[in-house]
Assembly symmetry: C2
Homo-oligomer: 202 residues x 2
Amino acid sequence: MTATQGAGRRSGPGRPPEPGHDEKIIQATLRLIDQGKPVTVNAVVTGSGVSRAAVYRRWSSLTDLVSDALDHGRAIPEVDVSGDLRQAVLEMLFERQEEARGVTYPQRRFRKRLELVMSDQELQWAYWTSHVSRRRRGMIEALRAGVDRGEFRADLDVEAALDALLGVIYYQLVVRGASLSDRETELRCRHALDTIWRGMQA
Amino acid sequence: MTATQGAGRRSGPGRPPEPGHDEKIIQATLRLIDQGKPVTVNAVVTGSGVSRAAVYRRWSSLTDLVSDALDHGRAIPEVDVSGDLRQAVLEMLFERQEEARGVTYPQRRFRKRLELVMSDQELQWAYWTSHVSRRRRGMIEALRAGVDRGEFRADLDVEAALDALLGVIYYQLVVRGASLSDRETELRCRHALDTIWRGMQA
């Protein structure tokens, strides 16, 4: 089983009442991350009480383990493309952020994730491949549906358009250090997304 | 003198042949940052050979000192709004990135800056206030010129539009871990910026 498949399996909302080995390993990894300590196999083994072999059986590298741990608790929400597309996409970016981020995925963990991926390009690529690109799929399908319906330009680069939509949100969090729950920030985002949406239209 | 004014004064291309106290302090701070060591007043004093008093005279907090150090070597390029606006803005985002980033401002330092601001919200706000928001001014003026000329919608939120344009670039570097010198990345950015530009037009 690859790390990606495993993460997919575990990223649903349910968590078993008796956590298994993988869950113990992930929780031990998250404790190290939250305490700002380096994630080593020794520290994970000590913290989880799980054997070295169990860690290696499941994750081929520490990078993959940290990547999966950083995504723990996040869901992959489906985008409803049957109705108003604009409404569905805006909901994903605002109202359903909580759901996409996961109820157990606090702002602090988001900042920590960005801190870690900026300090480690391998981790950044692992997180992109195993988690971000999977989470984008529903949105990409929604944008493709818009092209198919003739709502968007036929030549729209949907990957680029999604980068623009999500880029607005990331810019607030990473560059401005602003919170989306701040009214002024939300308004600015809505204006920016409105501008991008106009540019996507046929 | 405030940290902001001082940073403005030093952010030009010229550097005195005999560096003064401020320059020694900034260089000692950058050495600590590049080595991944904590920036403390003691370490800066030891590394620069400059007195404690000189550090405090110039920077009221370590946060302001680190913020200025992280911006060292970056220029604030002017945007030429007399000709084709689209061309001028695209040049700023692509060809003139080197200039805006500063020749002495490598990719490594960019990643380190993001790592540090994500781990320290005070630093993030200080960097935004003293450096990013100043660097945006030329672009904001260029977009306002576009509104005045009737090239863009009269109701365009230029701050939001600039967030969208820059957000595309940040998304590549922060989320995808992609390089702008990569051909596929550059094309995707150009498509995204084209979409935003269409949405800005009157």
